[in-house]
Structures are given as C-alpha cells and as structure tokens.
C-alpha cells in the first residue's frame, strides 16, 4: 500500500471512530463554550473590553481545549493495545503520525468553527468580511498545534497518571511563539489590536500565514521523523 493510500485509509478509520464515539469534537466544543461563556460574563457591558480582550479569550479557548482533544485523540490509541497493533503492521509509522495529525486537525477546525459561532454571538462580532482571514489563521494555527501536540501526547499518554498535565506543561511553551504571532495578526482577523499594541505593529495576514506555515512544516517534519522512534519500545 502506498503512503498516500495508507494515509487516507488511516484518516478515514479515525473519522469513523470519532463518528461512533462522538467524544473529541463534542468534548472540546463544550469546554470551549464554557470558557467563552465565563469570559463573556466577565466583560459583559463593556464593549471596548469585549473588542480588545475578546480575541485573547478566543485563542485561549482554542489552545486550552486543544489539549483536551489531543489527550483524548491519542489516549484512544492506547486503549486495548491498539497502538501496538498498528506498530506491528508493516507500515511506515511516520504516515500513521501524519494521519493522526490530519484527523486531529479536522477535529480542531470543527471545534473552532463552533467556537467562532459562539464568539460571534457572545461578543457581538459581526465582521463577516474578516471571517475568511480568521479561518485562514485558525487553519494554520491548529495545523502546527496538532503536529506538535500529537508528538507530545504520544509521549505523555504512555505515562502512568498525570499524562495530560505533562502534555499541557510541554505544549504551552512550544506554542508560545505561534500564539504571540496569532495575537499580532488580530487586526487582520478580528479588526482590533489586542493588548494595546504592546506586541508591536500589526502583522499582515500573508506574513503571518507564511511564518506559521513554516513553523508547521518544522513541527510536521520533526514529528514524521521522530514519531516511529518514540513508538518503537
């Protein structure tokens, strides 16, 4: 079986599993909705605060709920030795990693779209002209997040107890550069400059996209090469 057909086969089976279990997307979306609800209550009535701090809450919700999805996505592979079953098959484990990233990326995008709907409602964000830019930022951000997160969760889910805590401790510093860049592009995605402009001048969307895609490529290439070594023994 070629790498491409193996990739699509693995992604398809992951989707089927998620459709049956209905836990990753639903769990992440509920967690994110809860975060945004609390944030909305905290800023309610102050339209300036909602506009300036809202994007921070939005990305914070994606980052935090992402760790829930990553943990669950890989923990499911550890159940009943499923991962060993895949490991013992004569396949390129790097392709398995890429398929896992692709499936998790789709789950995160679905969660982000649900989150965006809630955000538009709660924070009175009706800038339809910015939605394509925002979706582009969500796409490149969550791709790198999934790429780095699957590698880390493959290591941390093997730990006895506290694996998810270790995952959060490891992934947050790794994602800080991308989070900062994502906040800097807020002018293009949310039509506002967060943190009063202390992060520097607004970043143009195309520069942001290219920079984050480069980081994504680094995460994915490293993951493809390192993942088989993590899984083997």
């Amino acid at each position: 079986m070629s790498g491409f057909s193996l990739f699509f086969t693995l992604v398809r089976w992951d989707f089927l599993r998620e459709m049956r279990r209905k836990e990753i997307v639903l769990n992440m979306s509920l967690f994110a909705a809860l975060m945004l609800t609390i944030a909305q209550l905290g800023t309610s009535g102050d339209s300036v605060a909602m506009k300036n701090v809202g994007p921070v809450f939005f990305w914070m919700a994606i980052v935090f709920t992402g760790t829930v999805g990553l943990g669950q996505s890989f923990a499911a592979e550890r159940e009943g030795g499923r991962l060993t079953g895949v490991q013992l098959a004569p396949i390129d484990l790097g392709v398995f990693y890429l398929a896992k990233v692709a499936a998790t990326w789709v789950y995160m995008i679905l969660m982000s779209i649900a989150l965006l709907g809630i955000y538009m409602l709660f924070f009175n964000f009706m800038r339809w002209d910015l939605i394509p830019s925002l979706l582009c930022a969500i796409g490149v951000f969550t791709l790198g997040y999934s790429g780095a997160g699957i590698i880390l969760s493959s290591m941390t889910t093997a730990l006895r107890g506290g694996g998810e805590i270790v995952l959060r401790i490891l992934i947050l510093p790794l994602m800080v550069p991308v989070v900062l860049l994502t906040l800097m592009v807020s002018q293009a995605t949310f039509g506002t400059q967060v943190a009063g402009g202390i992060l520097g001048p607004p970043l143009e969307l195309w520069k942001y996209t290219l920079t984050v895609l480069s980081l994504d490529a680094i995460y994915l290439t490293t993951g493809y090469l390192v993942f088989p070594k993590i899984i083997e023994e």
């Binding site: 159940e79 030795g81 079953g85 098959a89 396949i91």
Partner: protein
C-alpha cells in the same frame, strides 16, 4: 526438528533457509533488572515450540523480541531470514501475534476491524476472512461492535485478526486464557493444521499439559534463563 542452545555461544548451523527463528545470546534488561539472559535458540520451519515458565520468568519478553515489539539489549538473531529488532517490516508482515491485548477497536464491528487490519497489511481477501469468521464461530456476530463481545469472543476475534494476513510465524502468548472448551479445541486444531503446512508456531504458556499436547519441542525459562529443553537435538545439528 529444532535446536536450542541455552546460555552459551554457538555459530549458526544448518541450512539458513530452513531456519524460522535463530537467536544468539539474546538478553533483555529494563533498567538494572535483567529479564532475559543470554538466550540462544534455533527453530526450523514447521515447528511448534512451547515456551514454559512461571509469571515473570521472561517468556513473554522472549516472544515480544521475536515479534519485533521490543529490541533486545544485547545479542543478535534472525526471524524468517530477517534481522530482529523493532521496525523490521518484513518480520512484521510475515508474523501474527496474539497476546493479552486484542488490538481491536471496540467501537467498530469485527468485520470493520478486519477491514482495518487488512488494509494495514495490504490484504484484501474476503473469502479468507469469511472462512476464519466461520471457523471461529463469529460469522453471525461479525457486524456487532466489539464492545458487545464477551471476553471469550474477543479472544476468538483476536485469533482471527492475527491470522488475517497468512503469517508464516504465529506467536501466541497465553492464547488459551478466556477460551471455553470448544474454543480451546478449535485453537488446538488450528495450531496442528498450521504446523502441518510447514509454518511455525511459538506457543508461550504456563499450561504444560497443553504444550506437551501440541508442541514438537519445548523450552522452560526461569528467571530469564533457559533451564530445560525437551524434544530438541542438544548441541548438534538436526
């Protein structure tokens, strides 16, 4: 049929093509704890080798090394003509493993699981799948989710999964646990049929009576060392 050399080094002998498993001075440690010590073993194709030992003796570790799940800490060897060690796709493509975990996806049906594993092994053989399902008595339940299966049925499903890709080497780690009498008789018949077709079985068990019934050779492991061997040509070539 088989040769076993325990705890001493010896050059490989005989015709390499007839050798299914060849291990030379294999040891395995976890940290400072040595669980397998200097095991040398040579098994010809068509042999059913039983590996006995108490819990924690090292027999499952040996099986995992042979099936490429774990790398040995020291020593070398070949399985089906390929060097042992994790990541060896040739050994993985030609061997089937049954252990304490089923590897099956519980939210999927058995039929879907077989399709999934078939795609991993590049095997699309509906007739073979059907014959295995019928043989192990799960054909009528093939579309039910694995989560609805009993332990015995999961064990049977696990056996079907391991045979899906026509493996040359069948590694069975305590395969009789959880099977009822009918299931045990079925598995025994499968093992006999398997070896009669020139294929090799490594049967890890602490039930000596089952091993004596099925195996043409056996070894006993205690605290990581092979301490006894039966039905083997000691030292010389077969």
């Amino acid at each position: 049929m088989a040769e076993v050399h325990s705890n001493r080094s010896q050059a490989p002998g005989g015709n390499g093509e007839t050798r299914a498993i060849y291990l030379q001075g294999i040891s395995k440690s976890f940290g400072f704890r040595k669980v397998l010590s200097d095991v040398s073993l040579e098994i010809r194709h068509g042999t059913c080798l039983a590996v006995y030992g108490h819990n924690g003796a090292g027999k499952s570790t040996l099986a995992r090394i042979i099936s490429t799940q774990w790398a040995p800490s020291s020593g070398s060897g070949e399985v089906l003509g390929h060097s042992i060690g994790p990541g060896n796709k040739e050994i993985r493509a030609a061997s089937g493993w049954v252990g304490d975990q089923s590897f099956l996806r519980t939210e999927l049906s058995l039929e879907e699981n077989l399709l999934f594993f078939g795609s991993l092994y590049g095997v699309v053989d509906a007739e073979h799948s059907r014959s295995l399902l019928e043989k192990f008595g799960l054909y009528t339940r093939r579309r039910d989710p694995i989560s609805t299966y009993s332990q015995g049925m999961i064990k049977r499903a696990n056996l079907i999964r391991s045979l899906l890709h026509h493996p040359e080497l069948w590694v069975l780690d305590e395969p009789f646990g959880g099977l009822d009498q009918e299931g045990q008789a079925l598995l025994k018949g499968c093992i006999r049929d398997y070896t009669s077709r020139g294929r090799t079985v490594l049967l890890v068990t602490h039930h000596r009576e089952i091993g004596e019934e099925l195996a043409s050779a056996s070894v006993e492991i205690q605290q990581g060392f092979i301490v006894d061997k039966v039905g083997l040509d000691e030292g010389g070539e077969a």
